[in-house]
């Protein structure tokens, strides 16, 4: 039987394209083994709603990584698949990624190849038609059912694709694929499922390698991993010499970023990991079996949408006076109420992040009552125009300098806040986090194919 065993090997070196360069040595070691596919995760909902709402990109090394991946892919004839392009998987993110790849191809004089891409944005009319027909669009994670009013308030909505648009583009002969928003497991699972490997193993391999070297130990980001699928099992291998994929690291990663360690939902069904078995097969690899996949009928797609709150500025006030720190809530209240008086005619939001007390955890902070010797307050303010947001945050920050605290001995300023108020990105909130049924898993994801290279 051993002679008839077939396998497919999929390489990944980044769980978030462009946040930092991929480790050069482990990338070189892994690509030298000529894997069948090279894949990369271009983003997710993780960095927050700003990237989807504002069509902006988080990573500063996207171009560097695309260059490394495309040149390696074309030099060796290894197809390249990128999911959730441009952080959010918006149409702009896809178009920008395709444009960057074309430019890199031209610059390196890469011979002609076929590039395919698909979009994930959902036209408002689609949601309007569903709601008008009486269909319910239920919320995830505690969100109420979607209403038309809420859908209309979203700047942009994307649907999270499954494997199908990737498979369609592979069938069209694409050498390089840029996906809109998709499930993190799908850009890996797609070529495996297309080749006839069991979907349960394909999705589980997608889950295991989606964050590249985070599946291995010790903790290292941006190092190369190869997943190998057969008809019976998957094997995950680390390529940084200091890393190993162990039973503990692989089982630990199966529960990463999800509510339960046992299930992963994707367009098309649920991956059930309750019966998985893990076994170390060599110094750096672990073999996994036992995943099951339960198809959905009808298939259900996740929707993500971001609503703009306003333009945003930030200011910083630092306090060292123990008397003021003991009366910190009074100082914050002074800033808040003075702002309410001064900006009473315009809508705005103010948030005070008190680092040294509860800046990270807010209401969850158990040690909120401990009096620190120094605190830093970041004032976050939003308004409908940049001008008002700037003025608001500058004022609310200065109110710590000018705070009126009974019993204070300081009379030259109660906070150090010498740095200029800073412009930030506009503020957004997730307002669509819902699921919707589809008849055809391709219906929301139009595909396109073109030639690139010279």
């Amino acid at each position: 039987m051993a002679g008839t065993r077939r396998t497919m090997r999929i390489m990944i070196s980044t769980g978030h394209l462009g946040t930092a360069p991929s480790g050069a040595d482990s990338f070189a070691a892994a690509i030298a083994t000529n894997p069948d596919y090279l894949v990369a995760d271009g983003g997710s909902s993780d960095p927050g709603p700003v990237y989807l709402g504002n069509n902006s990109v988080l990573g500063q090394f996207v171009e560097d990584e695309l260059e490394l991946f495309l040149t390696a892919s074309r030099a060796r004839g290894i197809p390249l698949i990128i999911g959730s392009a441009g952080d959010s998987g918006s149409n702009h993110g896809v178009d920008e990624t395709v444009r960057q790849l074309r430019e890199i191809a031209a610059r390196h004089r890469i011979p002609k190849f076929r590039i395919g891409w698909f979009y994930s944005e959902v036209p408002r009319g689609v949601i309007a038609a569903r709601l008008a027909s009486g269909e319910r669009i239920p919320g995830l994670g505690g969100f109420p059912e979607l209403t038309m009013e809420e859908a209309e308030r979203a700047t942009r909505i994307v649907a999270v694709a499954g494997v199908e648009p990737f498979i369609k583009l592979l069938d069209a002969g694409c050498d390089v694929i840029v996906g809109g928003r998709c499930g993190d497991v799908c850009f890996t699972a797609a070529p495996c499922i297309r080749a006839g490997y069991p979907p349960a193993l394909a999705y589980h391999m997608g889950k295991m390698i989606e964050c590249a070297s985070l599946v291995a130990e010790p903790f290292m980001g941006k190092e190369a991993i190869i997943g190998t699928i057969s008809d019976e099992d998957i094997v995950i291998t680390a390529y940084h010499p200091g890393q190993r994929v162990t039973v503990a690291s692989a089982a630990g990663h199966s529960m990463y970023e999800r509510e339960t360690p046992f299930f992963e939902h994707t367009l098309g069904g649920v991956l059930d990991m309750r019966e998985c078995r893990y076994e170390e097969v060599d110094e750096r690899s672990t073999r996994i079996t036992g995943a099951r996949f339960v198809p959905d009928d009808p298939p259900t797609v996740k929707l993500e949408g971001a609503r703009k709150v306003g333009e945003r500025y930030m200011g910083i006030a630092a306090i060292r006076d123990p008397h003021v720190i003991r009366h910190l809530d009074a100082a914050i209240e002074w800033s808040r109420s003075a702002s309410a008086r001064t900006f009473r005619d315009v809508p705005y939001e103010l948030h005070y992040h008190v680092f040294g007390r509860d800046g990270v955890l807010k209401d969850l902070e158990p040690r909120r009552d401990v009096v620190p010797h120094e605190v830093c307050i970041v004032v976050e303010g939003l308004a409908q125009t940049e001008t008002v947001a700037h003025k608001l945050v500058d004022f609310a920050t200065r109110m710590f300098f000018l705070a009126r605290i009974p019993g204070s001995k300081g009379s030259s300023g109660l906070a150090a806040c010498t740095k200029q108020t800073m412009r930030s990105s506009p503020g957004f909130v997730w307002n669509v986090n819902h699921t919707m049924t589809v008849r055809d898993p391709l219906e929301l994801f139009p595909t396109h194919v073109a030639e690139a290279g010279v």
Binding site: G142, S254, E259, T260, V360, L361, L364
Partner: protein
């Protein structure tokens, strides 16, 4: 009395979707895992006490013996990355667990 930092191999928190944060405490051995499970310092009730939240805000709490792990998930006050949220990834929510004493 040892602290969780000394007994666990991994103590982490991370977004699980846009409105929840999930916590993983993973132990190097079955013995360390069982000791902490049996001590109750990371039970659903204990977690609610540590973070000063109503137990209903904990959406899931499981003991994952295969990975020697205790895992629980809570609802956020507001969706990740909203104005007013600083830890968009939820990656520092685990802080209060590190120094929990284990009998």
């Amino acid at each position: 009395m040892p602290r969780l930092h000394e007994l666990a191999k991994t103590i982490r928190s991370k977004n699980a979707g846009v409105n929840q944060v999930t916590f993983d405490v993973i132990f190097p051995t079955r013995d360390a895992y069982r000791r902490v499970v049996e001590s109750g310092v990371l039970s659903r009730e204990a977690v609610a006490r540590i973070y000063r939240i109503a137990p209903e805000r904990i959406s899931d709490h499981v003991q994952f013996e295969l990975a020697n792990a205790i895992k629980f998930t809570i609802y956020r006050e507001r969706p990740s990355g909203s104005p007013g949220d600083w830890d968009t990834l939820g990656c520092q929510f685990y802080g209060p667990l590190v120094d929990v004493e284990v009998p």
